[in-house]
Symmetry: C2
Subunit: 117 residues, 2 copies
DNA sequence: ATACTCGCTTCGGAAATCAAAGCGACAGCT
DNA sequence: AGCTGTCGCTTTGATTTCCGAAGCGAGTAT
C-alpha cells in the first residue's frame, strides 16, 4: 500500500483540539456518561441505570477509555462490602460547564419531545 | 422488587436535553462537521477535505441528519455552474460557543499530541 | 475528445454496538 | 445450609454503523 499522506494532512487540520475532544465525545454515550458523573460519583450499575439504553459492555469500554484519558477515576472503597465508584477528575469536572451549555442549547434549539412527566 | 418503576426513573433521569443533544453530537464527525461550518459555508468536497478521515458516504449521512435537525442548511446556488453549499442555521450557530469551549478545554486537558508541524 | 472536479450514491467488508447470558464475590433472608 | 438478589464486570453472537473504493451524471478545462 502506498504511504498515504494521511499523516501529513493531519497537521494543517482545522481545529486539532476539537478533533482530539471529539475522539472521545464523538463516541456514543461518552457525553452522557460524563454528564451523569457531573451529578456526583456513581457505581457501575447505577450508571447503567441512569443512562438508559447503554449496554454493559459498552459502558465498561467507555469507563475504561475515559479513565485512561484522565477524565474520570475509578475508586475502590474497601468494605465490607467492597464497592466501586467512578467520579470525575479535575479534567473531567472542567468539561461540565461546556456540557451544561450544550444542554441549555438543546433545550432551546432541539425539538421538545412531549414532556411526559 | 422495590416500587422503583422504570417509568419513574425515565423522568427524573439525568438530563433529557443532553440526551437529545448527544443523539446528534455523539455520532462520529458531527461535532467536527459543525465546527468546520462554524468557519463559514462550504461545499461537499470542501468539507470532505477539511475533515480528515471522514468518508463521502458518512459525510453525506451527517449532512442529511444535521440538515433535518435544522442545524445546517443546504443551499443551491444556480449557476452555471450550479454549486452546493452548506452553512449553519441560527440554531447551528448557537452551538458554536459551546464547541469553542470544548476546544479550549481540549487544549488544556487533553494530551498534547507532539506538535509534528 | 480527454481528463478533470463536484456532489453525491452504491457496494462489499471491517469495526462498533447491541441484548442476553454468565461469573465470582458478597449480602439477606429462612 | 440453602436460595435469592445485587454488584461489577466479561463473553458471545447477532445487528447496526462506518469505512474505503468505485461509479455516475453533470458540468468545466485543455
Amino acid at each position: 500500500m502506498a504511504p498515504t499522506r494521511h499523516d501529513l494532512e493531519n497537521c494543517a487540520r482545522g481545529d486539532a483540539a476539537l478533533t482530539r475532544a471529539f475522539t472521545l465525545l464523538g463516541k456514543r454515550w461518552s457525553g452522557l456518561l460524563l454528564g451523569s458523573l457531573g451529578a456526583g460519583p456513581a457505581g457501575f450499575r447505577e450508571l447503567s441505570r441512569a443512562i438508559d439504553g447503554v449496554s454493559d459492555s459498552v459502558l465498561s469500554d467507555r469507563l475504561a477509555e475515559l479513565t485512561k484519558a484522565g477524565l474520570i477515576a475509578r475508586r475502590v472503597e474497601e468494605g465490607p462490602p467492597v464497592t466501586v465508584s467512578y467520579e470525575l477528575t479535575e479534567s473531567g469536572r472542567a468539561l461540565i460547564p461546556a456540557l451544561d451549555q450544550i444542554s441549555r442549547w438543546a433545550e432551546e434549539h432541539l425539538p421538545a419531545p412531549d414532556e411526559l412527566c
